[in-house]
Amino acid sequence: SLRCSQNSNLCCRKDFYVDFRDIGWNDWIIKPEGYQINYCVGQCPLHVAGSPGMASSFHTAVFNLVKANNMQASGHSCCVPTRRRPLSVLYFDRNSNIVKTDIPDMIVDACGCS
């Protein structure tokens, strides 16, 4: 769940802010003015598979499986979101009604290896 930096290619969270004015959507989206469309990117070599899992025991369990089954040949671990949060949006619909809703799991807060 580290933020990406230039000197590592391990699984990390890449931050990116989309400003609705830049995409010409600020006329119908009242709030917020933009949002973080973060994403997960980077390598997940087997020795970090399952980290940072939801619980440290998760990583240990996965690592033991890898050692016990010598999974070098098959299977691989992916860099995925491990924690996300909702985005509250206030916007005009096509009838000029104002609509407020919370979109669940919209913003990636943390990444990790499956």
């Binding site: 006329d27 009242i30 469309i37 997960c40 980077g42 949006v89 206030l90 009604n97 104002i98 979109i103």
Partner: protein, 222 residues
């Protein structure tokens, strides 16, 4: 992006363009919109600000967790503010038209609905009739179904809210819906506009809270 190896040599523009396209797609998908809305007509900022204050006031009253809150949390909820298009059908009767549309395959359940009016007099005597109109331009004579009727009892002038449930309970099923409210002044002949201000600066509006439940989701629940 996760599948692609990072692209240090990519021109920043290409990555930015790609992510902005992804953001657009993601937002429309999560808001269940086919395309970004093109506004039918502009809404004055003052009206938006006033209505948002009501929405926040209503949100503050929101009841803390109820039974089965985790189930409730799984259904996405929407709060909608709709501004009336008014037509004076006669000196004693005012029509308010509200237009709603939602994406297909959505089963909306209405939790709250209030009509907000600006009363000029502390004791207005008005009859409110609630209709489901056949189409947007129906007007007074158009084809419509009476959903409910009630006498409004008011105390004090200024902005006042009037609950619209249970008449609206079945209103939100179906794609595009036009709600028509008619306010008639009682007590012989006094003009409805003497009792309430429905001008552009005091546009009546409706605040509703609805929940969406996906059809397959309901089956899973059962």
């Amino acid at each position: 992006a996760a599948a692609e190896p990072r692209c240090p040599s990519c021109p920043a523009g290409a990555e930015r363009w790609l992510l902005e396209e992804v953001a657009k797609k993601q937002l429309l998908e999560k808001l269940r919109l086919r395309d970004r809305p093109r506004l039918a007509h502009a809404v004055p900022r003052a009206a938006v600000a006033r209505a948002l204050r009501r929405l926040q006031a209503g949100g503050a009253r929101r009841s803390p967790g109820g039974p089965g809150e985790e189930e409730e949390e799984e259904e996405q909820s929407y709060e909608i503010i709709s501004f009336a298009e008014t037509d004076l059908t006669s000196p004693s009767s005012l029509g308010l038209q509200f237009q709603f549309s939602q994406a297909q395959d959505q089963d909306l359940r209405i939790l709250q609905a209030q009509l907000w009016l600006y009363l000029r007099v502390p004791r207005a005597s008005l009859t409110l009739r609630i209709f489901l109109a056949a189409e947007a331009g129906a007007g007074a004579g158009g084809n419509r179904t009476l959903l409910g009727e009630r006498q409004l009892s008011t105390t004090g002038s200024g902005w006042r809210s009037f609950p619209l449930l249970p008449a609206l309970q079945s209103f939100f099923s179906g794609q595009s819906r036009t709600l028509r409210l008619e306010l008639e002044s009682r007590g012989g002949g006094s003009d409805v506009s003497a009792q309430l201000n429905a001008s552009w600066s005091h546009q009546p509006f409706l605040v509703a809270k609805v929940k969406v439940r996906e059809p397959e989701h309901r089956v899973a629940k059962r």
